[in-house]
Amino acid sequence: MRTRFCSIAMAIAVLAAVPLFGQGFVGDLTSKDPPKGLDGPAPRTPDGKPDLSGLWQRPYVPDMSKNNKDGTQIGTPELPFTEAGMKAWKSYDAANGDYTGSCLPFGLMRSMNSPDPIQIMQSPKYVALLYEQNTWFHIIPIGTQHHTNWSPTWFGDSVGHWEGDTFVVDTVNFNGRTRLDTIGHPHSDALHVIERFTRTDAKHMGYEVTIDDPKTFTKPWTNKRIFTLRPDWEIMEYSCEENNKDLYDGHIKAPPPPK
């Protein structure tokens, strides 16, 4: 009860700090040194679409059920678990094999939730997400259909389309071996992710993700956040394997492949 009250109080506090999500959608980012001289509307590409390109700083989202303190990320306080979903959540123990510790692919959501910046590149046919985290990438073709005969993957099969000025990404066909966030919220191979990227002005991007997984949750739920353009940063190489002492010294376990 107390937890629920705190969640509600925090939600109200965050909503007060971020007056209207989607209309401006800008919290107080002054503590993060937003770059100067980037005011104005979102730039557009020659074909008239909002230009999502750039290096974006993102709030770290280790727990998608929570909000962060500066109002740049709003979670869903009580996730609507199915019975199977609750069982998977309650039984999770990172000490028994957090797959990221052995540098296995984080998968789509944990990559989107990581705190490292992301470089977005855009053309009329593709949007490419270049994650600094472990130097992964994910390419989203625009206006195509999902594959019908591909094997499930860590990052899933994404297709994109424009809804007005919002770029919508629909992703299915996950292998079910990942977790949604660092704290370990579960999902199944029935995971269906809908992401909405809206560049609200020159230096901010609204990001809203809907998690739809009928095996794990009774209904879809969302998480919203703000990305900040960082033209003063460059993407850096990140090799997860080069000195992964935690694994090499046997301090953490690598989960075996599924049988």
Partner: protein, 138 residues
């Protein structure tokens, strides 16, 4: 002198940037024990400035003069770089105090949350919001 100045600058930058979310490669709970805080004062014997986490090696003397070898994990070098650290921020031979949490396996391994540098500045060194408790008090 130059290295001392670099550390001062790095320390100041880190203090200013204390609210930055630092990257986490894996969950804190996968390896470390939130119920086992530790504070180590000793001499830096090695710094591994490599992904996915930096590692600081420290020789710690107890009251009887015997030396224990410790190794402590910090944040990823990319994130620490953006927050003012460099591979030169800690040198072999520096005296440093590390506050953090011990590993679950009982070895002399820790997760560093803050490091007190030779100039007396305490800097955040860990992976914020990775499930670890709040920074231990100094």
């Amino acid at each position: 002198m130059r290295s001392t100045l670099a550390i001062v600058v790095a320390g100041a930058a880190l203090l200013l940037a204390a609210s930055f979310p630092l990257a986490a490669h894996h969950s804190f709970a996968a390896e470390f024990d939130a119920a086992k805080p530790v504070s180590l004062q000793g001499m830096v014997t090695r710094l591994d400035w490599m992904n996915p986490h930096i590692w600081v090696y420290l020789d710690v003397k107890d009251e009887s003069g015997s030396v224990a070898h410790w190794q402590c994990e910090g944040g990823p070098p990319n994130t620490l770089t953006r927050n003012g650290w460099s591979k030169d921020s800690l040198k072999v031979g520096d005296e440093a105090t590390i506050s953090g949490f011990r590993s679950k396996d009982g070895t002399n391994t820790c997760n560093a949350r803050s490091i007190k540098l030779p100039n007396g500045k305490s800097v955040f060194a860990g992976s914020n919001d990775d499930g670890a408790p709040k920074r231990p008090t100094q």
